[in-house]
């Protein structure tokens, strides 16, 4: 990376770099698996209305046994039915939407917030930096799940509120990483030069600092989606996340858990879906860290 990149060259270079990183990801079996899982889930989320075999909200008459128990997988209902006789496969497919929307939204907010706090504190330092980083320390020591549950209990949980709650809990790690990097970058010559020739603050931050932070933002942003997916599932499992009847993988387990000993598929399939999605983002994020962080090259 050169010291001062003319923007046009940089942009073309960046497109090529993204392609190179994607290619590198596909060459690694674990990351490729992760990317494929994410792609399948994204397709399921976008095309859910056409992919669902049944109406996910319909309490089907033949969805329960004569004794009123949920149906096991097979036949008309490929993954069985839930306690109310609704098709589990359809609810899982629609649940993909919930998970991805919250994953992307909550993590997006957390990334912007965390990177914003980290850059501000690291670049300006002084008392602004001190206050922001002490606040970050404070949030680090907060029992995260308790905080999320209390926040979710204060506001009536809607999809947006759940995403906001998760973002409020998850921005901290990003802030710390970006803060440390910004501080060391701010001392470097190419930033000092920009400052001394009188470039505006926003210009220095946007055109010169941010490009160097992009790797970390991408890596921790990807790993963060996994944390977000898990937190959403946990909140919904506890009944303070996404509210039924909107299906989320966590609240499907919440609704059906009393039956888990006789109808284990009602826990197994949504559970597997959560693990698979979180795993996919972890695998991709881990590989990205390997690829983008040159200090780790060849170590593992």
């Amino acid at each position: 990376m050169s010291v001062i990149d003319p923007p046009a060259v940089a942009r073309r270079g960046r497109a090529r770099k993204v392609a190179a990183v994607l290619g590198e990801l596909m060459r690694r079996p674990r990351a490729a698996f992760g990317l494929i899982v994410i792609a399948i889930m994204a397709i399921a989320a976008v095309f859910a209305p056409w992919l669902m075999p049944h109406d996910p909200f319909e309490q089907s008459f033949d969805g329960l046994t004569l004794a009123g128990a949920p149906l096991p997988p097979g036949g008309e209902f490929p993954l069985g039915t839930d306690l109310l006789g609704r098709d589990l496969a359809s609810r899982l497919i629609l649940g993909t939407r919930t998970s991805l929307i919250i994953g992307v939204l909550a993590n997006g907010i957390a990334v912007i917030l965390g990177a914003g706090v980290g850059i501000t504190a690291g670049y300006f330092g002084g008392w602004i930096g001190a206050i922001l980083m002490r606040f970050t320390d404070l949030m680090m020591a907060f029992p995260a799940l308790l905080l999320a549950i209390v926040l979710a209990a204060i506001f009536q949980p809607s999809l947006l509120i759940v995403a906001l709650v998760i973002a409020m809990v998850n921005w901290v790690q990003m802030a710390r990483v970006i803060y440390t990097e910004t501080r060391s970058l701010a001392e470097r010559e190419f930033i000092q030069v920009q400052r001394s020739i009188g470039s505006g603050t926003l210009r220095v931050l946007g055109s010169h600092l941010l490009p160097h932070l992009l790797s970390s933002i991408v890596v921790f942003g990807t790993l963060g989606i996994s944390t977000t997916v898990l937190l959403e599932a946990t909140l919904s499992y506890l009944g303070v996340g996404v509210q039924p009847p909107t299906p989320s993988w966590g609240n499907i387990i919440f609704e059906n858990q009393t039956y888990f000993s006789t109808a284990p598929w009602l826990v197994f399939f949504p559970g597997a879906a959560i693990v698979l999605l979180a795993l996919a983002f972890n695998l991709v994020g881990d590989a990205l860290r390997d690829i983008l962080d040159p200090t780790l090259k060849g170590r593992h």
Partner: protein, 306 residues
């Protein structure tokens, strides 16, 4: 070193003070009216008003906060709104169960994580390494309630080896401890693996090999002790994971600890209890981090304590 410890203690106290403020603000914003809940549904408006006065809920925010802090400094966390007991008594009654569960979880995660990490490092880039690392990726990607329910289904319902829930005998510990330690096992196995690989590449290992020591002896006496040290320093940081984990794990297994207490209190908006558990958890997390920071320079003198 002493200056460092004093500074870190001071910082920790400030963080805890900040947490009391943030928690108090959050709970102040909860729309539910505690007085109405205590009084019950059939109470008159006057009764509710009296209770509000008694609890001091009509006072301005900062008066309430100052009173809370004043009491807290005297070790008084207030009374539960809904159970006839002091918050400190409720927590004290529940804390041993949670602490024992955490100790069991630490043992579990260390045994699982270190074993996996060592085996993976020794079989680096071989089949065993790849499968173990995939396992560790799965374990950091699995929510605790899913692990807990699956373990219950397989080992309690189907095989009947362990009780379905509850507390009391050593058998009760196994499934909750494994559930709580599963996540940490994933992290530890990855850290142990890379720590082992680092140590294996160092000169003293080559020297030991050149001296003709057996491979087993080199691994056990020279590599593992050095590889484990940086990992031991991380245990303090686990407390944060556990403090979130016990809310879920205790609710899945019906474990009578502070996680369950917190969860019940949140559902019934028993604010003094929520405050109390949050403060106890935050204190534990801060102490854990402090411990990790203090232990790290002892283990690795290269870490500066400036």
């Amino acid at each position: 070193m002493r200056g460092y410890i004093i500074r870190r203690l001071f910082e920790s106290a400030l963080i805890l003070l900040g947490i009391t403020l943030v928690t108090f603000i959050l709970l102040y914003l909860v729309p539910a009216d505690p007085a109405r809940q205590i009084a019950g549904r059939s109470a008159t408006a006057e009764t509710v008003q009296n209770i509000r006065d008694q609890l001091g809920l009509n006072d301005p925010f900062f008066v309430q906060y100052a009173r809370y802090l004043g009491n807290l400094f005297q070790g008084d966390m207030g009374r539960s709104y809904l159970q006839r007991a002091e918050v400190s008594e409720l927590i004290a009654a529940r804390l041993p169960a949670s602490l024992m569960l955490m100790v069991a979880a630490i043992v579990t995660e260390l045994i699982m994580g270190l074993t996996i990490g060592v085996v993976a490092a020794l079989r680096r880039n071989k089949f065993a390494d790849h499968s173990l690392m995939i396992f560790s990726f799965v374990s950091i990607s699995a929510p605790q309630f899913v692990i807990g329910i699956l373990l219950l289904y397989v080992f309690a319902v189907q095989l009947g080896w362990f009780p379905i829930g509850g507390y009391g005998t050593p058998a009760h510990f196994v499934l909750p401890a494994v559930t709580l330690g599963f996540l940490g096992a994933g992290w530890y196995s990855r850290m142990m693996r890379s720590s082992m690989i680092d140590v294996l590449a160092q000169d003293f290992v080559r020297t030991a090999r050149a001296k003709g020591l057996s491979k087993g002896r080199i691994i056990l006496r020279h590599v593992m002790p050095n590889a484990i040290l940086p990992i031991i320093a991380m245990i303090g940081i686990d407390i944060g994971l556990f403090m979130s984990g016990i809310v879920v794990v205790e609710s899945v297994f019906g474990w009578p600890g502070i996680g369950q207490l917190a969860w019940q209190a949140i559902q019934r908006v028993d604010i003094p209890v929520i405050m109390g558990v949050t403060m106890v958890s935050a204190t534990a997390i801060v102490m854990g981090n402090l411990l990790a920071d203090l232990v790290a320079p002892l283990i690795d003198p290269r870490i500066k304590t400036k």
